[in-house]
Every structure is written in C-alpha cells, then in structure tokens.
Amino acid sequence: MQTTFWPILLGVFLAGYLALEGADFGAAMLLPVFGRHDQHSRDGVIRAIAPLFLGNEVWLVAAIGVVQGAFPGLDGTVLSRLYPVFVVLLVAWLTRDAGLWFRSHGGVEWRWPWDCTIAVASVLLAAGWGVVLANLALGTVTAANPALTGLAPSDQGFGLVPMLCGLLLAGFCALRGSLFLNRRLSEPAAERANLIARRLSLPVAGLTIITGAVLAFTDPPGRHWPLWLLGSLLVMAALATRSRPAGLPLTALAIAASVPLTALAGLPYLPTANAATLAALTPLVIAVLPIIVACQVGLWWLCRGPVESRSWSYF
C-alpha cells in the first residue's frame, strides 16, 4: 500500500500545483495585454490571482516534501540533471512572488513595471515546467540514474522537443488564465479575456500537433502512448475553450493529466524510501491532509465570487 500511496500523493500534489497555478501563470501573462493605462483591469487581474497564489504554490512545496521524504535521491537526480532549468524556474518563481507581494505596496506608478515583471516571470515559470515535464517524459533525467530505466540520454535539458513543450505549456496556461479571468473579472475586462482565449485556442491546438509531429520524427514512435493520449487531451481542451463553460475545467484536467502521463512515459519505476521511513510518515500525513484540503476548499470558497473593485484590497 505504501508503494502506491506515495507515488499517487506525489502525482496529486504536482498535478494540483500545475492545474491551479496554471491559471495564475496564464492570468498574469495577460497583464501587459491590458496596457499601461488600464490600471483598473490590471488591478483586477492581480486581485483575481493574488489571494490564491500562496495556497496554490504550496502544492509544489508539498510535492518537493514528498520527494524528499518518500523518494530520497530522486530530487538529487532530477534537479542536478536539469540544473539550469531549475535555476531559471526558481529565479522566475521568486521574482513572480515578489511582484505579487510588493506591487500594491508602493505608489501607483510602481505597479506597471512590477506587472510586466510578473508577466515575464509567469511565462518563464509555465515554460520552465513544460521543459521539465518534457525531459521527464523523454527519459533524459532517468538515464542519469542507474536505479531508473530510461530512454536514450540527451545531454541538455533544452532540446528541441523540451523547448516546444515549454512553449506549449506557456500557451496552454495563457489559454486557461484568460478563461479564469473571464470568470473572475467584470466587464469589459472579462470580455477582453474571453476574446484572447478564442484567439489563442487554435494556435495552441496547432502547436500541440506540431510538437507531437516533431516528437514522432525525433523519437521512435509507439513507445509513447501516454504522450499521444496527452496530446489528444490537450488538443481537445484547447478547442473546447471556444465554448466557455467546458473550457475552464477541461484545461485544468488536461494540465493535471500531463503529470501522470509524463511519468508513465518517462519514469516507469520510482525507487521509494525505506519501508520504516514510509511507515513513520504515512499515518501523520493521512491524519493532517483532510484538514489542509478543507482549508484549501475554504480559500477557494471565499474567492468564489467575481472580483469587484472593493472586494479585496491587500494585494
């Protein structure tokens, strides 16, 4: 039971992180689209994501914790193999968070530069995770670890397919973010976000197909059924965003699904920690997890309504 519980928990945390933060990344990418002079809409974007980003990004923190506790050595393999990718990710993460914390705590004139910084950092974050997932799927990472059976090693984390996947995830997050803003903002910003989603949906679907084609040419086909499934899901979700109600949950589902499907393709076997360690960890985690999930639900419940100019002020 231990050896299935922990991989599933890791998958849930990572998938939850990407699905939840995907909306934040994408929404923040739209900040410059509203322009320097439309501060009202930009404030709305920040108010839509800022109350949630803390609660969203800790899913990744929890995932890292799971790796450290239940898969010791895995983080060393993955992180030191993809060192430059993770340095970019971490710097982007710090910068994005700093922007969200600080942009509203100064003069009005200091918001626009922060907003542009937040947008660039969000693109890098989404793209960075795309690169990481692609490297996991291709087995670049696992090849370095004899305990894991991987595919052909490639020396750089920044190959053509990983770069395309980075672009793809950034595009997909932008799509998800615009639908999220359409739900949370009031007119006319909401309609603007919806328009962006409609314009993005075909290019993102196209990019998915191109990435799939490049993968098929560079790598022997047939070994990646989880990736073909993922590709189809992404195309479907991208096209579904043209009809609003289905788009938001479907984009979340597609992003979340990318985690287990990537792992299936590239991480056929995860070496878990010693049974004694898992036996110590499992009951504590099972006892506390429902409370934290309840708090997460509470946070989302508080943020359920549309953002109004007076609804919330801290960020």
């Binding site: 914790g65 060393g76 914390w101 934290i292």
Partner: protein
C-alpha cells in the same frame, strides 16, 4: 563536486539560510503577539485590539514574503547542490523535511491566505482560530526543520545499510537532544526578536510624539514583555548546550571557548576514529560565539531594565532611542548563533558519519556560481524591498482597513497606494 564547486555551494546555502533565518525568525516572534491581540479583540470587542492585530499582522504578512521565498529555494537546493547528502541520508533526513512541508508549510500558507482574505468575511471566532492555527503551524514547521538539522548535528535512530542510511528508531529521531536543545534556544531567540521589533517600532512612535497613545502603550508593553521573557529564556535555554556539546561535539565547544588543548584532544579522537584529516571547525566560530553571547546578555539587560522602568520610560527620549537602536541587534545575534551551530559542525555534513566533501552533487563550479549570483541578487532585491516596505508600514502607524474588512471604508480602501504614494 570539485573543491571550488563545494565552497560555492556552501556559500549559496549559507546565504539562503541566513536570509531565510532573518525573516523566518521575525515570523515566529510576531505571530504569538498578533494571535494574543486578536484573541483580546474577540474577547473584549475593543476596537484598539482589532487595530493592533491589523497593524502588526500587516508587518508580519509583508515579512512572510521573503521568508517563504527563501524557504522554497532552500528546499530545492538540497536536490540541486547536495544530492550526495540526500542520496546517502535521505531515508532519515528527508522524513522531517517532508513533514515540515506537508504538515506545516502547506498548512501555514493556506491558512495565511485564509486569514488575509477572511477579514470581515469569516466569523470572528473562526478567523481567530485561523491565526492560532498559523501560529501552531509556524512553530511545528520550526520543530521539523530543527529535527532535520538535528540529525545532521547528532545522527540518531539509524543504521547504514547498502551505503545509505536507514531509519530504525523514529522515536529516537523525534526526541533527538541534538535537535531539541537547539530548537528551544532558537524559539526563545525568535520570540525575543519579535518582542524587540514590536517594542522598537512602538518606541519610534513615542519619540515622534504619537497621538495613538493607547495603541502604542499596549504595543510597547507587550513588545517589552515578550522581549524580556524571550531574551532571558534564550540564555537559560542556551546554557545547557555547553554541557551537551562537551560530550557530543567537543571540537565545536573547544573552538567556542578557545581551549586549544581540548581542541587538540577532540581532533586526535576524531583522527583515531575516522582516519587522518583536519577535524577542527573554522576558527571564526569562536568570535561568533562570543559575539552571540555578549549580544544576548546585552539584549536581556536592555529588555528587563526597560520593562522594569516602564512607567518612566516614556519620559526618556534617550531610553526610547536605545530601544529603536536595539531592533537590529537580535537579528545579528540570531545569525551569529546559527553560524556557530552550522560552521561548528564542519567538516561534517552528518556529524561523524558523512563528510561535507562527500555531500555535494554532480554539478560543476560554473553552474553553482551562476545560481549563486542569480539567487543572491534576487534575495538582495527582495530583502531590501521588503525591509523598506516593512519600515514604511511601521512608520505610517495604524491605518484603517489594511486587510479590507468591516472597518475599511467603501471603495477607497482598495487603493492603499493613494495613501502610501506620498
């Protein structure tokens, strides 16, 4: 890892840990103060307690930003630079780290979102429960982190099987004296830090002749009480560590006390057990320890004296200025203490079990240098901006509706920049 890469990785970890430590300690110190103010607000219904909660709560939240950011990078640094450590000791070292993130960090951040957002939206008692849960989560977080650190200082409850550490005794890990002595000393120090910050900022407003007399009288008294209690406790809880170190890490103690004979004996004992090598910690540990002790005593004297002469304190601008000037001192003492603990462990990553030179990962010096420069640059900007924001919020004093909520006026409160953009 080459020697250069290892040195750079150590500097990188030290910088991250020190910046994290500054902000995390203030988090630990401020939270109980805020929770007590909010409790009194819910109990008495007096508006001053709501304003106290919001003012100090705002400073805590701004401060939290850097604490969380550097904490995140630290989690990743184990994988980036120290896979030799996580691969070897991960079965034991990873367990408290995992529980820290899942049970404490996860809960703390989610609850903090709920607390910020919950002003005027959650029922008062539920909102109060949230701040207490955040406080508990923060302290539980410190417990797990120190448990992981304690394993590096004094490894217990394990055997080495197949070239890696395996957990054999969870209870021994949970009650590791190498962790708990340090934890108690550290938490008292963090409380003192919070108390001095609250007292110092309040003293600033008294010097400036504030009209918020009740507000800053309560703040000053609470801050001084916490500072006095915390700084005396820090000393009391620090003393037993000398006896403990004499048995457990004699080289560290000998470096602190400057006892060359004891250091030679400790070195010889290490050589007999682990083969030839230099087992003396860096000599800077000595002056750092003396500095920490002197500052600790000074802080305790200042806090206790100020608390004792509290009624006449407000008439003496000099005494108030001393309190303002004291604000940075506990931070310096904390960093010094942390460096003594960590540098004093060298040359071991896991004391007596794994050398620091074996703890690095397969990473080149160039790569580590790039990450060191980038991370340090970002921390520097973060720390400076955050400090200025905290100082600005502290100087402005209590403002209505920092978090929105019922005391906030309609619409206008949504634009804090209009107030602050002066």
């Amino acid at each position: 890892m080459t020697g250069t890469a290892l040195s750079l990785a150590r500097v990188e970890f030290a910088v991250t840990a020190c910046v994290h430590f500054l902000f995390a300690a203030l988090t630990l110190g401020l939270l109980p103060v805020i929770a007590v103010f909010q409790t009194r607000w819910v109990a008495t219904g007096k508006p001053v307690f709501e304003r106290l909660t919001q003012f100090w709560g705002n400073i805590y939240v701004i401060n939290y930003a850097v604490g969380i950011a550097t904490g995140l990078v630290m989690e990743f640094q184990f994988g980036l630079n120290w896979s030799g450590l996580t691969g070897f000791a991960g079965n034991v070292f990873g367990a408290p780290m995992a529980l820290e993130t899942i049970l404490a960090f996860f809960a703390e951040s989610t609850l903090l979102g709920l607390w910020i957002l919950g002003w005027g939206r959650l029922p008062a008692k539920l909102h109060l429960a949230v701040i207490w849960l955040i406080t508990v989560a923060a302290y539980v977080s410190a417990f797990w982190v120190m448990l992981a650190n304690g394993f590096l200082q004094h490894p217990v409850g394990y055997v080495i099987r197949g070239g890696a550490v395996v957990l054999t005794d969870w209870a021994a890990l949970l009650t590791n004296p190498g962790a708990l002595y340090g934890l108690a000393h550290l938490l008292a120090g963090a409380l003192a830090t919070g108390g001095f910050v609250v007292a110092g900022i309040s003293a600033y407003h008294w010097v400036r002749g504030t009209t918020e007399r009740e507000f800053f009288d309560r703040s000053l008294f609470t801050g001084l009480a916490v500072a006095a209690g915390g700084s005396v406790l820090t000393i009391v809880l620090g003393l037993p560590q000398f006896d403990y170190l004499a048995a457990d890490q004699p080289a560290k103690l000998a470096t602190i006390t400057g006892n060359d004979r004891a250091l030679g004996a400790a070195d010889a004992a290490m050589r007999a057990a682990h083969g030839p090598g230099d087992y003396a910690p860096p000599s800077i540990v000595g002056p750092l320890a003396i500095g920490m002790i002197v500052l600790g005593i000074v802080l305790a004297v200042v806090a206790v004296a100020a608390l004792f002469f509290r009624t006449s304190l407000l008439r003496s601008r000099l005494a108030l200025r001393v309190l303002i000037g004291t604000i940075p001192v506990p931070f310096v003492a904390l960093i010094a203490g942390w460096l003594v603990r960590e540098l004093g462990r060298q040359p071991w990553a896991v004391y007596g079990v794994e050398r620091t030179s074996a703890a690095g990962g397969p990473v080149g010096a160039g790569m580590v240098l790039v990450s060191l420069v980038l991370f340090t640059g970002v921390y520097l900007v973060l720390a400076v901006v955050d400090y200025r924001l905290i100082a600005g919020a502290a100087r402005r004093g209590p403002q209505p509706g920092v978090f929105g909520g019922p005391t906030a006026g309609p619409a206008t409160h949504a634009e804090p920049a209009l107030r602050t953009g002066e």
